[in-house]
Amino acid sequence: MKATHKLLAGACAAALLAGAAPAQAERGADGQLNIIYWQAVSILNPFLSGGTKDVEGSSLVLEPLARYDETGTMVPWLVDVIPSLENGGVSEDLKSITWKLKPGIKWSDGTDFTAEDVAFTAAYCMDESGGCQQVAAFTDVESVEVIDPLTVKVNFAVAKPFPYGPFVGAQSPIIQKAQFADCMGAKAPECTDANFGPNGTGPYVVSEFKPNDVVVFAPNPHYRDAAKPAFSTVVFKGGGDAAAAARSVLETGEFDYAWNLQVEPEILTQMAAAGKGTVVSAFGTSVERIHTNFSNPDPALGDARSTLEGGKHPFLTDPAVTKALSLAIDREILVEAGYGAAGQVTCNVLPAPEIYNSTNNDWCKTPDVDEANRLLDEAGYEMGSDGVRAKDGVRLSILFQTSTNSVRQGTQALLKQMWQEIGVETELRNISASVFFGGDPSSPDTFQKFYADLEMYTNNFDGTDPEAYMASWRCSEIPSPKTNWLGANMPRFCSEEYDALVAEMAGTAELEKRAELAIKMNDMLMESGAIIPLIHRGGVSAHAVTLEGVKMNEWDSELWNIADWTRAE
């Protein structure tokens, strides 16, 4: 298998390193590792918290059956092979998947890791009263059967061409049945001891935990590789802000690894110049994009505002307008001002993995104000005396909302200026993230209600499979008062053709075919102007120059291979 090969290659690399410094090929020989996450870990049970910091913090302890490597390739982790149609792990009707556990793996308390634990994990998360936050990974799971102590079978209610939701990736690790058996359902939140110090199969165990402050880890004595991990202590500190975290690695050298450095690029560059650390980045599927409101957000419409019933948007449904808006944007400037190495210009809402990335929209990469102006002229929007275009009395005046965040506000300001050049007037509005993304149906400011013409935010999908993600833009996903404003189709984009493609993808197992369908959907969204993608965002982290083995990974936990991290002399 390709994946196995990759894993071996990784092991070889580690072995090579070990060879270079033989004294270090010993558990706990490299002293202390200091990691700083500017958002502190609040709980070490990823099923009870959706926060990246919590998921990644617990990934030192808890492991999934399989996970993604830095290229987005799935690698077996607690199993020997990834089940697939070819090797018979996935049933022909695509309704079940059978995992065969790697023998000999032990929990950190010394007991054996068995299929019972895997089945229990599913039962734990699928208990409705438990409030499991990773329940999305278990969508359509009908049952999880224990075949024998090392074999577990997941049955789906529907055909699942991509059955790798449960137990794959950092969001869906395995917890120990013995420890959590009494923590089912409503009792889940009250099991503080277990939630703060889960037993795991990973390289480290929790030795001290101060919620929202610091976690101290020690090597797992029962870790499957006797030579790993290399550090005797891991201090996982939280708090402060991204700049301070970056400073502690890059300038003062107090810490070895800092996560998610959303700092203005010039600051990062300046800090990196101190030479104590290296900035690393990796790209996943996050795209900063603008959603166009195809429905009419006119307040005069009252309850019908921003709904299909309220009618079409006066000018944004005209692809000429959205294309002109897109053409007017100099995305390079946006990258330079707000993202630096953590951003790339993109013209797709689905930019990765590579096979899904469309090249059909690359025209947007080169801004062309003249072309934009021409398009608008052609479409009949005439420049008014106030510098704003209008057609039939409808002025190209836009209300543009996003969440409160300094980079976003910078981007907003830049866009406003760029659009001014093509005769589009923009009013900016920013809303506190907790309200904007909060989903409170009584608030007028949520991103779902979309009481504006344009809105900007980032979204992505977990793992590497875009099926569910692309299904967001089906007609049935349009938020409306009837569905209590739930739904992911913010632009109110509705096309039968698109819905048909979604259905087709759900029944297609072959990867190339799936990619083709995804690209087609992506291109449809681009051409209609429902989405104006801006930047393909990556994660940025920094590590000390003395820290080796870091492989930045946006598909899984950044700390996915922490067992291989070592300290150079």
Partner: protein
């Protein structure tokens, strides 16, 4: 004095109940949604379930009553059990749980207490130690260069926001001079001389930043109080008795001047427990202040309610202590 104290205590009870209600009600109105921070991919039905699992479905009065019981009965009982080893009932009491960490809020507070007390408390002590001599000398040599400089110092100290001084300190002492760590290690334990030195080193910057701010306020107060007393007749009496200036100022005037200052110090002491939100953020001290701001940002209402109310209790308590201190320090009040 005793009845006075009892009276004050008696007043404190309804006051605290009123405060608890206000705090609970205001925070309850807050639009914080415990599920707001969840990833967008989580479906709304699940969000609703999570809300219910956090006890959000019940009416306001029930939740308030439950919270009162938890706060005033269950948590104190738990504390007593922990300290004494006794047990009351089955010990399976409903505790105030944080939404963010799902752990009892009181435990979190207990965990945060040491660093807050060390850093913020130390800065308070330091502030007072710096401020009192400055205040005394400034007042004694009123309008001298020392006084002018002291005034300038205290006003500058007061007028620069701590988030700025903190960052400045880090850039100078951590980045450029590499003297002190910029991030406070809350797991550090003092076991020997070396670790003690490290503890001192990591405390210096946050303590100084806060201490200077405190000192600037206390010194102004001390100066004013000294000036008030230096003009009193008894000072002339002391001089007429042939007392040295040292005795006149440090015994006669100082003793009187400290009365209001000490009470003000006691009144402001709850701030120490409240933590210094900004300084804690900057140096990652992660004390109570950081806990509070984190809870506010994370919409963790139970934590905010509990912390806020504990501060209120402390404020009421220290108000009482300040009154009593005043009585103890000032004999004129003691016997009334």
């Amino acid at each position: 004095m005793l009845t006075y104290t009892l009276r004050r205590l008696a007043f404190a009870v309804p006051a605290l109940l009123a405060i608890s209600f206000i705090i609970f009600a205001i925070l309850d109105l807050a639009p914080s949604d415990p599920t707001a921070q969840l990833p967008l991919t989580i479906p709304p039905e699940v969000r609703e379930k999570i809300r219910l699992s956090l006890g959000l479905g019940e009416p306001f009065a029930v939740r308030y009553w439950k919270w009162l019981i938890q706060f005033f009965v269950n948590e104190p009982l738990n504390l007593i059990e922990q300290w004494t080893g006794w047990s009351f009932g089955d010990g399976d009491r409903l505790r105030v749980l944080s939404w963010q960490t799902r752990s009892p809020v009181v435990d979190l507070i207990a965990q945060r207490m040491p660093q807050t007390l060390w850093v913020v408390g130390m800065s308070y002590v330091l502030g007072a130690l710096i401020a009192i001599p400055i205040g005394v000398i400034s007042a004694y040599r009123q309008y001298s260069w020392f006084d002018q400089f002291g005034t300038l110092f205290s006003m500058v100290g007061f007028s620069i926001p701590t988030f700025f001084t903190g960052l400045l300190f880090i850039v100078i002492f951590s980045v450029n001079l590499e003297w002190f760590p910029s991030i406070y290690d809350t797991t550090h334990e003092v076991t020997d001389w070396e670790s003690f030195v490290f503890q001192i080193k990591q405390m210096i910057m946050p303590t100084m930043v806060l201490g200077l701010y405190n000192a600037s306020q206390i010194s102004r107060f001390m100066r004013a109080s000294m000036l008030d007393n230096l003009g009193q007749d008894y000072v002339r009496t002391a001089r007429a008795k042939g007392m040295t200036e040292k005795v006149v100022v440090l015994v006669h005037v100082m003793r009187n001047s400290l009365i209001p200052v000490v009470t003000v110090l006691a009144l402001n002491l709850p701030q120490v427990f409240g933590g210094a939100i900004i300084t804690e953020q900057i140096f990652k001290v992660n004390g109570l202040g950081q806990l509070l701001i984190g809870a506010i940002e994370g919409g963790d209402i139970p934590t905010v309610q509990t912390l806020t109310f504990i501060f209120a209790v402390l404020i009421v308590l220290f108000n009482l202590i300040a009154d009593l201190l005043y009585g103890i320090l000032d004999p004129r009040i003691r016997y009334d």
